[in-house]
Amino acid sequence: MALPVPIPRVNNNDDVVKIVRIPVGVGDAVHAGDLVFEVETEKAVVGIEAEQDGYVLAIRCAIGDTVAVGTTALWLGATPDEPVPEEAAATPAAQEAPAGDTAVTAKALLLLRQHSLNANAIPRSGPRLTAADVEAFLESGEPPAPEEPPATLPRNLPAAALTRPLTPPERGLLSTVVWQRENAVAAYLEVEYDARAWDEYAAAFAKERRLLFSPLLSLLAYRLVRLAPEHHANGTVIEGAEPSLATYQHVNLGFTVQAGDSLYLCVVDLADTLDEAAFVARLGELQRRAVAHKLAPVEMRGATVGFTSMARWGGVRRHVPVLPPHTALMVAHTAPPADGRPAVLGATYDHRMLTGFDVVRLLQKLANPPKQAT
């Protein structure tokens, strides 16, 4: 059966991407890992790879097209002559912005975002605001109309003095929290534990390798990489007419890094294929790239389970993190209190997939280092 190849979400900030290169043609044989598209996002040009072997049956977009994330852009088949299902082409004309006070085409929406314009300030030539309307407004050189407060603000609040479009990091954060709000049933719990065993384990690991940085958090994260599949926490729920549980084949560990005012989720891909030392090295490299604001888009996507720590901010007792999109578990570490009280490991989890009992058992195992180095 023909397999659709959708445009993936490259990063949380971009709902549309631009097709800049299509290195394959209809009839070509491709292997898993072969480049099938190059797309341009706000931050970079990213390659999209085929996830399995097959023949290119159809290509539903062209170079220069702006397409929405999730759109089927290419069809693969086991044989080159498999029939392709009839479906809408991957063009913005097939996608419409959510309805509001003004219906807006996706191309027009993209232009509005690019130029920080308010849709309500643009004269329309028809019932929907089109890209041609926006382009005509831009060419006219007229200043945009003053921003009006959104109609949904309650009347008894003061009028907003200033509204502005969200920055890319703000859109990323909004996208993350909205995913949790709309898709997960988030719950939180925590367990107390004695941090001394982990401190000793990390100290021995660092001493053996003469490491400059404490590997404690990386080693905790690696332990999570091993425990998450064992405790069925490396997956997500797909709702619909036939709900299903998707278990990821590998663990991509998402690890938060605060770099100045930016919070990054750097992702160690295929973390379960690495040994402990290789994981610590790889995560260290990603952390450095995050602090330098040099993470590539592919290094910030695809997390299947998450780990975060507020250890830098002593005195933070409870930290309820947000689930990265399409994950079921985000573990939160805080620094052990200076007053001798037990340390705490917390976790936000998707209750559609995990019970509190599942998470307690996982955290209780995570509270102790492995008996042997892996």
Binding site: L212, F213, R282, Q287, R288, R312
Partner: protein, 88 residues
């Protein structure tokens, strides 16, 4: 060579002082050979930021296996590492 090392040490001390200052720490008591993580002037995140700064300043292109006490553990070790990198 000695002048170059002295100059690099002074630069490193400034960078370390700035990083520690953000955490409310003073590096007046930190000797060139003191192991920086053991001095307590930087937490782990601060140490990471410090290393990123010197990596960028001296274009070291640090590899993961180079993140060791021997290479970067003290101001003196970092200065020697930077000089060795320049000579390479």
């Amino acid at each position: 060579m000695h002048d170059q090392r002295t100059k690099i040490l002074a630069e490193l001390r400034l960078i370390l002082g700035d990083a520690a200052g953000k955490l409310g720490q003073d590096i007046g008591g930190v000797a060139d050979d003191d192991i920086i993580p053991d001095t307590g002037v930087l937490d782990s995140a601060g140490l990471l930021e410090f290393v990123v700064l010197i990596d960028e300043k001296y274009a070291l292109a640090l590899e993961p296996e180079e993140m060791t006490i021997e290479n970067l553990g003290s101001l003196a070790a970092i200065a020697d590492f930077v000089l060795a990198r320049k000579r390479a």
